[in-house]
């Protein structure tokens, strides 16, 4: 049967169009029930009696949730307990329209066979299609469509011959909808009603989201926040230029301050500063918001106060005191930034948050505050009866809404992760918080692994160059099991040198498009945490088949150069190959061989050859203006054997480190040139944009305080001036400057060559760059391998590889995963630092001031590579008198002592476990001695301030 659908639509240019679309109604859409005899469904989804037991409905039944139930109670629907659910097409379409994340989740649930979710295409079913009536709103029509479908099910199922036929239950929170449904004979319940009636599942009730229907109890009388404008007004405002749209980033250090990044034309972004709860107006980190700018007179400089929302009580108290602290007229007009306020939320980007419960002081209370691990997220009020068991545990909570009358958003409990402070739980938390996929590989993924025992076949040999005779060796850090690169070098007859870089041929094992490939593409990178590695590809590949271990035959992708003795490339050749590594060395072992003049075997000779070439390559690179920012700073180093933080190691850089690095850079650049030559539209490259000049302000100011000039007009100038910037009797100064310079840099990113025109890699001073050398731990390299393989006719191409939009989407994911992996690594290091200090007790160390803030100084302790904050203000007591000078920058305390950047101080370090969620490294000032501020040398003063860890 044919129906036509007519509707009117407004075009982008403002004209009104009448759109006519066909709409076919069908007779062959089945109900999806196992027991149904009428429908000829081949694989029915809905079971007869695997239903949930409920007090309200003692008979077997299936659920039909309406759109709002799906949107708000997705956590409940995702529970393994809830099965046999009919999702109507109308509902699915509405959900798709209104919330992409929920749509994704409900689709995942539908795909999960265990869940037995059935999608009923009611809009195209002859008997359940409804037409919009005159004067009926789209929402009302959809509600009616849902009721009609439910009614159809009720009648359809009652035709079944057996007497214990299942029934359908409509779940809706809309009172009018429920009444109307009951009138036409459909069993319907409110969601809470139904969930509470479930037998033996009290914990599900906690996950119920608080919907607007029952919020009345929470609301105080006072409205704390201005109203959000409706979307239509926001859109009109954005169009007229009254409002600006941007993404909301909360400030980590100060809960009353946030920045909104507004995408301007091209790649230009402007930042708008928001200060104070009223102006933040219930926006949460990463929401897309509309802001209104304040007039210029109200523009301020970002405050350098560090503020944490530490109030214990749940009262919606005024924040005047805290806000006053921020009101500090700054005379310097150059520092002023545009300010504004949030007028409305365009899109919420709420996800489930990890964190811990602050139990309410009232014993029997069911309402508690939840503190997320991420400081940028406000505390969330949840309702639970299990507060006492949840105390001391890491839990996950989702936000449901933020009414105008409430100081905090309302949310609900999702699940518990385990006791806080456990290594496993904390690792789980940091993986979840950084969105690192860390589940074990699924069976489908593992099924694409090669069958063991694996050997190199004749066919492999036919298409590959046999390089087994070459004297190849690998150099890696100790304990490395995923060796993805190996090198060789020997002298040719004409006096030139042949140098080869051999990279594990991962793309041979991971074929495009299969589950293994998709999983790797999603993970994007291997994440190295302290004592734990989250692999991108299953271990069989990462540590065995792809790892170029010594004395086994392995498949490789080789990049071979002929070079003259000045390290100039004469020609480059790429080939798939078979190699047999002669030795897997550590950096130290390789260095020993080079230095030991008594050793003259082939491996050592080739290492020496490589070493001389690498030095030449490096000096040439530095001449071109490559930055050495991988500053030799001391990093917190884990003992990889015991997985316990027993020692802090200085990361020593040997010649061999840079040997391997130089050749990897060279290989990456050569490959980048080749794939860009072949595929100018879809080559996956990596760029490092030059930072905007303003980024360097802090560096220039810092150097000025020591009467030094840093030139930042080009990478070369920066590199040179950094080299010259040294102080006598302050050898660490240069390192400190380099650390500051590193913070000025932009993030290097992957991109698709067809989508961008700027390819330059600032840090390496290379016009083109990509990642080729670590396919075991980076997905980008796998793609580059595939491109290169196609370019040399060693492999066939596939559609997605040549599609620049898909490539660009992939790049976005890879960039995101890399960033998150980096954050996760830092957090893991921070956690293990804490474990270390827990064992060590209290230490006194020397450090340098890295930044000066309005009420605190941030100190770097070179010995541990540890950064911490010393606060000079106390919440309960009046603090010492502080005078802040933003030009220096310097901070004067009680007119007695002035702190400048780079000053040497002595601090006392200990672990503060008073807040188990945010265990902190506490630093207190020892020297210079300032009465009332610094602590006496031997013992620790209990109220010393809470510092912040490096993030």
């Amino acid at each position: 049967m044919l129906k036509s659908k007519t509707f009117v639509k407004k075009t982008r240019s403002g004209g009104v169009l009448k759109i006519v679309r066909e709409h076919y109604l069908r007779d062959d859409i089945w109900c999806g029930f196992e027991v149904c005899s009428e429908c000829k469904d081949e694989s029915p989804v809905l079971q007869r009696d695997a239903c949930i037991e409920s007090n309200l409905c003692p008979f077997p039944h299936c659920l039909i949730p309406d759109t709002n139930v799906v949107l708000h109670q997705i956590d409940i629907l995702e529970d393994p307990l809830i099965r046999n659910v009919i999702i109507l097409q109308t509902v699915l379409q509405e959900v798709r329209h209104r919330s992409a994340p929920v749509y994704k989740r409900i689709k995942d649930a539908i795909h999960d066979k265990e869940k037995r979710f059935y999608t009923f295409t009611n809009e195209h079913h002859r008997e359940t299609f409804v037409e919009r009536e005159q004067g009926e709103s789209a929402n009302d029509r959809n509600d009616r469509a849902i009721r009609v479908a439910a009614k159809w099910y009720t009648e359809h199922l009652s035709k079944s011959p057996s007497d214990s036929e299942p029934k359908v239950v409509l779940l809706t929170n809309d009172r009018a909808n429920k009444e109307k449904a009951e009138q036409i004979g459909v069993i319907s319940y409110r969601c809470e009603e139904y969930i509470k009636s479930l037998i033996g599942n009290p914990e599900l009730v906690d996950r119920l989201a608080l919907t607007s229907d029952d919020q009345n109890e929470i609301s105080g009388s006072k409205l704390l926040f201005p109203e959000h404008l409706p979307l239509s007004k926001i859109q009109a405002g954005i169009k007229s230029g009254a409002f600006l749209q941007g993404s909301f980033r909360a400030n980590t250090d100060n809960y009353l301050e946030a920045t909104v990044f507004i995408l301007g034309e091209g790649d230009k972004t402007t930042e708008v500063l928001l200060q104070g709860l009223q102006n933040l107006n219930r926006a949460v980190h990463q929401d897309v918001v509309a802001v209104e700018l304040f007039p210029k007179e109200q523009w301020v400089a970002p405050s350098s106060v560090v503020l944490q929302d530490d109030q214990q009580n749940d009262e919606d108290t005024e924040e005047e005191e805290a806000e006053k602290k921020m009101e500090n007229p700054v005379p310097d007009t150059t520092m002023l930034k545009p300010t504004g306020r949030v007028v409305g939320i365009i899109k919420r980007n709420w996800r489930p948050f990890c964190g811990m419960l602050n139990q309410s002081q009232i014993k029997e209370a069911t309402r508690h505050l939840f503190t997320p691990a991420d400081r940028r997220i406000p505390r969330i009020r949840i309702e639970t009866r299990q507060a006492s068991t949840l105390m001391g545990q890491r839990i996950i909570v989702a936000i449901d809404g933020w009414p105008r009358t409430s100081r905090y958003p309302n949310g609900h409990f999702v699940r518990s992760l385990g006791g806080a402070g456990d290594k496993e739980t904390e690792t789980e938390v940091l993986l979840l918080e950084h969105d690192v996929p860390h589940q074990p590989f699924s069976q489908t993924v593992l099924s694409f692994l090669p069958k063991m025992p694996w050997t190199i076949t004749e066919e492999d040999m036919k298409v590959r160059a046999d390089l087994r005779h070459l004297c190849v060796c690998s150099v890696d850090p100790p304990g490395c099991t995923d060796i993805d690169d190996a090198l060789h070098c020997y002298e040719l007859e004409n006096g030139n040198l042949e140098v080869g870089v051999h990279i594990a041929d991962v793309s041979h094992f991971i074929r495009p498009g299969n589950a293994l490939d998709q999983e790797a593409a999603n993970r994007g990178t291997t994440v190295y945490l302290c004592g734990k590695r989250i692999d991108m590809v299953p271990e069989l590949l990462s540590s065995n088949l792809c790892s170029l271990r010594s004395n086994v035959e392995r498949l490789a992708f080789s990049c071979i150069w002929e070079m003259n003795n000045n390290a100039e490339i004469i020609n480059t050749r790429f080939t798939k190959s078979v190699i047999n590594s002669k030795a897997s060395l550590t950096y130290a072992e390789a260095q020993m061989r080079i230095d030991d003049s008594s050793m003259n075997d082939e491996i050592t000779k080739s290492l020496r050859g490589l070493n001389t070439l690498a030095k030449m390559l490096k000096s040439r690179r530095i001449e071109k203006g490559a930055l050495t920012l991988s500053s030799p700073e001391v990093r917190f180093h884990m003992d990889s054997e015991t997985h316990d933080p027993i020692d802090l190691q200085t990361k020593e850089l040997k010649d061999t480190n840079s040997l391997v690095e130089e050749f990897m850079l060279l290989a990456n650049i050569s490959v980048a040139q080749k794939i860009y030559e072949e595929f100018s539209e879809c080559a996956l490259l990596r760029k490092h944009p030059a930072p905007p000049p303003s980024n360097y302000d802090i560096l220039i100011k810092a150097a000025k305080s020591k009467n030094l000039m840093i030139r930042t007009d080009s990478a070369k100038a920066l590199a040179d001036s950094l080299n010259e910037a040294t102080l006598e009797n302050f050898s660490y100064f240069n390192t400190l400057l380099r650390i500051l310079a590193t913070r000025c840099m932009m993030q290097a990113v992957y991109f698709c060559s067809g989508m961008d025109s700027d390819f330059h890699h600032y840090g390496l001073a290379s016009p083109i760059y990509t990642h080729f050398t670590s396919p075991i731990r980076r997905y980008s390299d796998i793609i580059v391998h595939r491109l290169l393989a196609v370019a040399i006719n060693a492999d066939s191409t596939y559609p997605d590889l040549m599609d620049k939009h898909k490539q660009a989407a992939l790049c976005n994911n890879l960039n995101y995963r890399h960033k998150m992996a980096q954050y996760a690594q830092r957090t893991s290091v921070a956690f293990h630092t804490q474990l270390f200090f827990k064992n060590k007790g209290i230490l006194n160390e020397e450090g340098f001031i890295l930044f000066v803030r309005k009420n605190a100084i941030i100190i770097l302790i070179p010995k541990f590579g540890l950064e911490g904050t010393v606060f000079f203000e106390k919440k309960d007591k009046p603090g010492p008198r502080l005078t802040f000078d933003s030009e220096g920058p310097s901070l004067t305390i009680e007119d007695q002592h002035t702190f400048h950047i780079f000053d040497k101080v002595k601090v006392n370090i200990s672990l503060d476990s008073s807040n188990i969620q945010h265990q902190k490294i506490r630093m207190a000032l020892l020297e210079p001695v300032i009465p009332g501020v610094s602590v006496p040398l031997p013992e620790l003063e209990p109220e010393a301030k809470k510092p912040k860890l490096d993030r």
Partner: protein, 245 residues
């Protein structure tokens, strides 16, 4: 907000069809008296009118005539009211000229032109309403009009579009599907021997996907040929009943 979901997980398209299903096809032959042959055809919401004159003497310059076969002259136009926004120029623009040329090529392959040396056959097609697959609707309508005019052809010429969405080939695209990105392939087929009269694809498609897409278009064309055949037979029946009286 996300764009349109062209193919749902349950395998239904925007308008409720499955991937291989065609739109409803309705046609009538002999709609005009004056012309030698005419037909009106609806393929879903795409409506086309085709009129055939000839074979007759070559009009205009003699130099155009061919000594061994007939000249086929095609003209394609779109009614000003055929699209959602009123069209300014109904024919003669670049797109229409291209379409005219394609139609000419298609029918030169199908009509037995060598039977009419030094003559001309005119085919005029007009799109009355456009909802995707304009070319195929024109070809199908013109085929019926040629049959109505009694001009011998090798076989019916059936045309259909096919598109590629989420690795699934879709047959007979509507306008929303055509403009939803992805590749569209138009195929004109002589179904009995699977001779291709014309195949056209504008956007890029990976080579690996081409066979699947061609297969889908071929199957769709064959399905169409059955419908066209039944239209012709029914028309014949009606006409023969009328003439008997």
């Amino acid at each position: 907000m996300a764009g349109l979901e062209l193919l749902s997980d349950q395998g239904y398209r925007l308008d409720g069809r499955k991937a291989t299903e065609l739109r409803k096809l309705q046609a009538r032959m002999g709609v005009f008296g004056q012309a030698d042959g005419s037909a009106y055809l609806e393929q879903g919401n795409t409506k086309a009118l085709a009129v055939v004159y000839g074979p007759h003497e070559v009009r205009g310059s003699r130099s155009k005539s061919l000594h061994d076969r007939a000249v086929i002259n095609c003209q394609y136009s779109m009614a000003t009211f055929s699209t959602a926004e009123r069209k300014r120029r109904p024919h003669g623009d670049r797109k229409s000229s291209e379409m005219s040329l394609h139609l000419k090529q298609t029918f030169e392959a199908a009509v037995l032109t060598q039977l009419y040396p030094r003559s001309q056959i005119d085919i005029y097609v007009k799109i009355l309403q456009s909802d995707g697959g304009n070319y195929s609707a024109c070809v199908n309508a013109a085929t019926l009009a040629l049959v109505d005019a009694g001009i011998p052809m090798r076989d019916y010429v059936c045309a259909c579009t096919a598109g590629f969405v989420e690795d699934t080939p879709l047959a007979d695209l509507c306008h929303a599907e055509e403009s939803g990105g992805g590749t569209t392939l138009s195929l004109a087929l002589l179904p009995r021997r699977e001779n291709i009269a014309l195949v056209q694809m504008d956007a890029r498609l990976h080579q690996d996907h081409l066979p699947a897409l061609m297969e889908a278009a071929t199957v769709a064309c064959k399905g169409l040929s059955k419908v066209l055949d039944s239209v012709v037979r029914q028309h014949l029946q009606e006409v023969s009943v009328q003439t008997r009286e």
